[in-house]
Amino acid sequence: MSTTVSPPSPSHGTEVPVRGLAISRMWGRSQSVIPTLAAVLLLVAMLVYAELAYGRVFHAGTISSLLVSFAPTIILAVGMTIVILSGGIDLSVGAVVAFTSVSGVMLMNNGVNGWVAVILMIGFGALFGLVSGVLIQYFNVQPFIATLAMMFLARGLASILSTVPVQAPEGAPILALATDWKIVDGPKVNDFVLTPGFFVAVLVVVGAFVLLHRTRTGRTVYGIGGAENSAQLMGLPVARTRVLIYILSGALAGLAAVVYTAEVGGKAQNVTGIGWELDAIAAVVIGGTLLTGGAGYVLGSVVGSLVLAALAMIITKDGGIRPEYLTIITGGILLAFVLLQRVLTARRRK
């Protein structure tokens, strides 16, 4: 055989990860967590700043409002995380929230059992996801375009159903999701109050975490996002998984609609959710997930949602903002955020 160099020892250069070097091993492994950690750090910094500057941040009422009112955003961000991890994007979620909530409430008003209606809401969301997924997987439509079309479709169908707000009937079971559970009863509104809707969001987060990190389907999501061709050649069920991802995202949008509709007292409207997809995407990005797919964590997106919540809260608490500057400031802070994150993670690359 041809003489190629034969190594005297299994030394493959110094950068090869070798078992046993605990520190370098930890470093190597922790790399993909760093952007998410950075987000956590920045969130804490924001909250501390707000507490010092305006007060009443670490306040039972404030914290519970934050958690409860951002439950739908968190649910959407979770779905978006899964989609983005696979290298895709779902622009339709905001519009799907509008359609599912309007259709669900109308069903309730037309005598459909309240719980069945709730299930149908989630089902309708999943249906939009299914269409997106099939377009993307089987007809090679780019995710941006397929989900944009679904955004138009869902928004349009919602408007066709009704352009006036519809109200769920008194005592509809969906309203139970917004029941206040007082966990700590403080003076006046300084109570720690949570709603079932919040716990739904928690369950979704836990479920997504388990799905992504404890199931083969979840690993396939990461595989598709990292290198679709490789995933395909490795024999992973790419087609099935991808369709599932979009179904999941749609279903979660339906679930977010359920939680949000409950939150606003059973009212649904065709203009709900305009721009929520961008919030969800921003939350995912702030949470450290790469838009190119393959790297990121669902917990990061939760942190990202909370960052957005904290940002809105600071703007409100400050109260001195000129309306013209609102989007400039939001954009500027978003930018500062990704820049800081970049600085904090810069050492990842040599």
């Binding site: 041809s2 299994p10 493959h12 250069g13 950068e15 090869v16 790399q31």
Partner: protein
């Protein structure tokens, strides 16, 4: 070996891509307990046949039988379900995941709480250990290891499942001898357990070392199936290329007796060239018309040195003189501007621009060098393109075909054309012969010799040491990201001696050996 029922049989399979008949009525049989090699030139259709067998492509006509039963493979998953594991030609893993996850992806060990990561990594570790990779940390990201190691990881992955058929498409092209040996011993063990192995390689030695049977393809067509012991190398090569190989044999390499005057100002001279974490400061000189080989183990820093010379990476120390004049080569642009061209070892990620045509790929670097404003006139482009496509007989001969549709070897040839088109004075070729068939390999070696003859300086990096020794006038020996010695080629210099320098226990010893060799040369 007794002729048992083939596990896999292909009968009269054809596949046509727009403009190319990639497979034309090919027959193939894979028996249990054999290592069966698929041979053929670049673009002969080997990878395509493999992809047909694994469900990536569907055949237009013909049939595929698995265990004697006709099967329609609709995707890689269905092939895997049928017991076929595959390692494709280009590494196909997910660099965003850890080593262990890559090994186990789709086969993770599951417990009541979903995937049991501890057990999964343990099984990955087992699989890696079998491939002699026990030292790898399964929880480290795949991107942290070299392409060669990734290739081994890919092979480990294929062995995780109890497959009855194992397909390896050029698994050895980036491996060193020891790794090849480990791989072969694993392959032999599997073969003895009755696994049928389909193997592709351009290294004749390896083919003869491991395989029981050979199927030869030529231009998408089926040439024949032979027992390895019945077919000697000359016959094999002439079957592959369809003509006599005497021409190939007369490979112009008498470089070993070349005595060059090295007193003139070198074309390229670097002092203390280095980069933290990648390469210790290195001195190197390259003279006009000289072929300098870089020898070393995988990951020894050959690529890093070449990249620093070319400006692909930015050096953080050292001074560089070109023909005596001090210059800064800090980017590929300044490298090309100073007539230094670098052909990368990682063809797919750093070399080809997949969606662009062959024509555009060839002209790209020259165009970049001239600037975006002055587009190269169509006539000049046509001329360049036909020159290089003919010179390396790129197939298919259609300059408007996107380069990603070419076979691996042909892509390499196009890239070589790209660099030559920039008219370099110093050409750095990093593994230019990897994955290239014998004929083309000879062409490239011959080209290198010609170029040097015509006054170009060439740096030649190859894991195939014999090639380096045959082609180079001077050999720079690298180890652990450091240059450990330099040998002027001569009759005494053999691959074995270079290996022993590399294998020396200490740096001093290596230097002493190199010196001894050098003195032997002067005597």
């Amino acid at each position: 070996m007794t002729e048992s029922l083939p596990i896999v049989e292909v009968r009269g399979a054809s596949i046509t891509f727009p403009g190319v008949k990639a497979l034309d009525e090919v027959n193939f049989r894979l028996l249990p307990g054999e290592v069966h090699t698929l041979m053929g030139e670049n673009g002969a259709g080997k990878s395509t046949l493999i992809k047909a067998l694994t469900g990536v492509y569907q055949i237009d006509s013909g049939s595929i039988l698995i265990f004697g039963e006709e099967k329609r493979l609709t995707g890689t998953a269905s092939a895997q379900a049928a017991g076929i594991s595959t390692v494709y030609q280009e590494v196909n893993l997910c660099t965003n995941l850890t080593i262990g996850e890559n090994v186990m992806l789709g086969h993770e060990v599951r417990g009541p709480l979903g995937i049991n990561w501890r057990a999964t990594h343990a099984r990955a570790q087992e699989a890696l250990t079998r491939m002699g990779l026990g030292h790898l940390d399964t929880r480290a990201p795949l991107s942290s290891i070299s392409i060669a190691l990734q290739q081994l990881v890919a092979i480990s992955r294929a062995m995780v499942t109890d497959s009855k058929v194992l397909i390896l498409d050029e698994p050895t092209s980036s491996l060193d001898a020891a790794e090849v040996e480990t791989l072969f011993s694993v392959m032999r063990r599997l073969r003895d357990q009755g696994v049928a192995i389909l193997f592709v390689s351009h290294f004749l030695d390896q083919v003869y070392a491991i395989s029981d049977r050979i199927t030869v393809l030529r231009n998408g067509g089926f040439v024949g199936e032979y027992l390895t012991r019945d077919l000697d190398r000359t016959q094999l090569i002439s079957k592959m290329i369809g003509k006599d190989i005497e021409a190939l044999r007369a490979l112009g390499s008498n470089r070993q007796v070349d005595a060059r005057d090295r007193s003139a100002t070198p074309v390229y001279a670097a002092e203390g060239l280095g980069r933290a974490g990648a390469l210790a400061p290195t001195d190197i000189e390259i003279h006009k018309g000289e072929v300098v080989g870089f020898a070393g183990l995988l990951g020894s820093g050959r690529t890093e040195l070449a990249r620093l010379i070319a400006g692909a990476d930015r050096a953080d120390s050292g001074t560089v003189r070109l023909k005596g004049k001090k210059v800064n080569v800090t980017s590929p642009v300044s490298g090309l501007g100073n007539h230094i061209a670098y052909s990368t070892e990682n063809r797919r990620d750093d070399g080809i621009i997949g969606d662009l045509s062959i024509r555009e790929n060839i002209m790209l670097a020259l165009q970049a060098k001239r600037g975006w404003l002055r587009r190269i006139p169509a006539r000049e482009v046509d001329q360049l393109v036909s020159t290089y496509m003919e010179r390396f007989s790129v197939r298919p001969n259609d300059p408007d075909r996107p380069i990603r549709l070419l076979s691996g070897g042909n892509q390499q040839k196009v890239l070589l054309g790209r660099w030559l088109a920039t008219d370099p004075e110093l050409l750095l070729l990093d593994e230019p012969t990897r994955g290239i068939d014998v004929g083309a390999k000879a062409d490239i070696q011959e080209t290198v010799a010609e170029l040097a003859e015509a006054g170009m300086s060439v740096v030649f990096i190859s894991s195939e040491l014999e090639e380096v020794v045959r082609l180079s006038e001077r050999i720079v020996i690298m180890k652990d990201h450091e240059k450990v010695g330099e040998v002027v080629n001569g009759p005494d210099v053999t691959a074995e001696r270079v290996v022993s320098i590399i294998a020396a226990e200490s740096e001093e010893e290596a230097e002493a050996q190199a010196e001894a060799l050098a003195e032997g040369e002067t005597r």
